[in-house]
Each structure stands twice: as C-alpha cells, then as structure tokens.
C-alpha cells in the first residue's frame, strides 16, 4: 500500500467509526434536538468517510470498492484513533454495559472535532490531487461539529453538580486517549514525507489553545496525562472496536454483493 492509501484510510476510518458510534444515539437522544443533531453529525462523518474510501478504492484499483473497505476489513486493518471507538460511557471492559452517557459523547466529539478542524484546515494544502477538495468540504462541516460540542461542553461543565461531575469524569477518562493524536506512526511519517499528510505536532499548540479556553469556560480541570498511549492508527485497538464492527458489518457480510 502506498503512503497515500494508508493515510487516507486513517482519516476515513476515524470518520466512519465515530459516525457509527454517534449514530447509536439515533432514537435515544436526551432531547429531540440533540437526537437530530447527533444524527446530522453522523451523516456528515459517514459522508466524509465515503469520499475518502472512494478515493482509496480508485487508488488501489482492481475490484476494490468503498463498501469492501468499510464492511470487509477486520479490526486489525482499521486505522482509526482508539478514542473514536470507545463506547459512550466510562471505562468498562468488553461487553459490560452501562447507560449511554451524553457527557462522554460530548467530550469525545469536542476533542476529536478540535483536532479535525485543525487537520482539515492544514490538509487543504496537501500535495495530494484529491485530498484538498475533501478537506475543504469536511472543514465546513467539522466547524459546526466543533461549535456544537463546545457549546454543550460549557453547558454541562458549568451546569449542575451532576452534569459537572459527569463531564469531568468523561474528560479524565478520554483526554489521555488524545495523546495518540501526537504520537507518530509509520503511515503518517510516510504521508508527511510525501507532502500528502500533515505533521500533527504542528497543530498541537492551536489544539491546546482551543481545548484550554473551552475547559476554562466550562470550569473543568485538565487531568494529568501519561500512561498508555493508544495505537489505534497502527491497527492495535481496544476490545470495543470489534463489537462496533460486528454490528456495522453483519448485514453486508450476510448478503455479500447485495444491492438495494
């Protein structure tokens, strides 16, 4: 695989997996407006994933299609950040269940949207022939996602004792996963060397500025980092991705080549 396809798959898998996760709120939103908002965000993310998968399929040629990339790859072939595959609740392992927690959803969407807004903005200048066009579209969309999640982060953090405690807990749980944004990977290094990708560390101070300003307004404390740095973008995932993919891929795998 070329530098471009590996890197594009990383971007596409992020969008698809978070799109699928957020879609779990469809019909279960805390209020009708948020149910609709999360479905809209999911649609944008899945749309971005499709554009990227179509591009990868065209680069790989042969009988590769966007559906094959989305539905017929397994956990270790996915290149998304571990952050986006985690369930909508605090740390529990494998199939242990907890209620969907909107604070977790909002904190994750905020951390990811802040990263992607900066990354798409930088990728508008990518040397790839097609990526700048996708970046320009995605940037328009992720700005709305960032504003939406930031507004809710402030509302929940600076809200009631209960909403504050849950949002702080979600931040304590999720912020360490953001360390993966800055840890390199061979695919990223190759894409950066080819002028296709962007060095995430060039975006870190802007990301910190956005995050710190929002946390201050939300009266939330930034937890200390350290510990394990996830390697989802290298195909090493938490146990949660397998369950997500099993649900997402089962229909396509039960009816391969099905058309409707």
């Amino acid at each position: 695989m070329s530098a471009a396809t590996d890197y594009l798959l990383h971007l596409a898998d992020n969008a698809l997996v978070l799109g699928q996760r957020n879609a779990e709120w469809c019909g279960h939103g805390p209020i009708l407006e948020e149910d609709i908002a999360l479905a809209n965000v999911s649609l944008d993310l899945i749309g971005q994933a499709r554009l990227l998968y179509q591009l990868v399929a065209a680069l790989k040629g042969g009988d590769c299609t966007e559906d094959k990339l989305a539905y017929f790859r397994d956990t270790h072939e996915f290149r998304n950040y571990t952050l986006v595959e985690l369930p909508h609740h605090g740390p529990l392992s494998s199939y242990a269940k907890a209620s969907l927690d909107y604070a977790t959803t909002i904190v994750r969407n905020f951390l990811y949207s802040a990263m992607m807004a900066l990354l798409w903005e930088a990728l508008e200048k990518s040397a790839d022939a097609d990526l700048p066009a996708i970046a320009a579209k995605s940037l328009k969309e992720v700005r709305y996602h960032l504003r939406h999640s930031r507004d809710w982060l402030v509302r929940l953090g600076d809200g009631t004792d209960e909403s504050h405690a849950r949002t702080q807990a979600a931040l304590d749980h999720l912020l360490p996963y953001s360390q993966e944004f800055w840890a390199g990977s061979p695919a990223e290094s190759a894409a950066i060397a080819a002028g296709i990708g962007v060095d995430p560390n060039a975006l870190k101070s802007d990301w910190d500025t956005i995050v710190d300003a929002a946390l201050a307004e939300a009266t939330l404390q930034r937890p200390p980092l350290g510990g394990y740095v996830p390697e989802g973008k290298q195909g090493i995932h938490s146990e949660h991705l397998g369950y997500l993919l099993a649900e997402m891929q089962s229909l396509a795998r039960a009816h391969p080549n099905g058309v409707w």
Partner: protein, 166 residues
C-alpha cells in the same frame, strides 16, 4: 444527432431539489455546468454536505430526466471548489423564504479555526420568514436536514428552519 448544451440546460433548468421541491438544482448551485467533452455531453454537479442522503436521489432524477428527453449525457461529480450556499441564486433564496425557510446569509470570511472558535458569539440576526421580525432565537444548530438549523420567532412564535451558511 446528439443534443446541444442549450438543449440539456433546457431539459434540466427546472428540475427541483428532491428535499426542498420549490427550488431548482440550478438555483441551489448543485447543477454547475453542462459542457461538450470530446466523447459526449457532461452534466457537472457539486455535492452539498458530504453525507446528504439526497445526493443519490438528485443523480437519479438527473439521469431519468435526461433519458425522458432522449438526451445522452454523462453525470460528473466535481468536489472542488466545494459547494457553498453563496452559489444560491437570489430568486432561489426568495423561493425558500416564501416556502417558510429562512435563506442563508453570505458565508462569513474564512478565518482560521482558532479564531473562529474563540469568537463564538457573533450571531447574525435571522429574520423570520413568516413575519419578517429579526427577534428570533436559535433553538438548535441542527434541523431536519444537515443543511438547516432550527429557529423560533419570538414575535409571531413561528418555529422555522434556517438554511445555514456553508
């Protein structure tokens, strides 16, 4: 004998958006260009939101309209420059308003992401499409479709959709 560019435009001119049927694809700025390529006619469209479910329907509608008119033309999707609500025609915006959807304002100058998110409180008044009052309130960033936000008029109390600048 093959059709001319003008004949293709004539066939597609009034083709309506499947989601908001009062406005045409041309007025929305989705139908960008008809051109004669070396190997036949091309109809160029630019998709709106990445995940807009109407895009598949729009392609189908274009294809069947061309077929009915007996015109052979290829449909080409062009991503860059990205679709923007600034491409919507004035007559299109007026039709939206008459239909009860507040038309989009001009998109704000593209500042950096950091600047954009640091200044969240630059809300522009969205006049109510029913009574014209500027005393309106955003109730949700996201509406019935990805392209719209939900508003409520505080004077006539009408809830309405606002087509977001994109």
């Amino acid at each position: 004998m093959s059709a001319t560019v003008e004949e293709v435009w004539a066939a597609l001119e009034d083709l309506a958006d499947p989601e908001i049927p009062v406005i045409s694809l041309r007025e929305l700025g989705i139908l960008r260009e008809v051109r004669a390529a070396a190997d036949g006619l091309e109809v160029v469209i630019t998709p709106t939101y990445s995940g807009c479910p109407a895009m598949g329907q729009i392609e189908d509608d274009l294809r069947s309209t061309l077929e009915k008119a007996g015109i052979a033309a290829r449909i080409v999707t062009r991503l860059a420059p990205a679709w923007t609500t600034d491409w919507m025609t004035e007559s299109g915006k007026e039709k939206l308003r008459a239909y009860g959807i507040a038309p989009p304002h001009a998109t704000p100058a593209a500042g950096s992401v950091v600047r954009f998110i640091a200044n969240p409180a630059t809300a522009v008044a969205v006049p109510c499409p029913r009574c014209g009052s500027a005393n309106t309130l955003e109730t949700s960033h996201f509406g019935s479709t990805a392209c719209k936000a939900l508003y409520r008029c505080q004077d006539c109390l009408e809830p309405f959709d606002y087509f977001k600048p994109y």
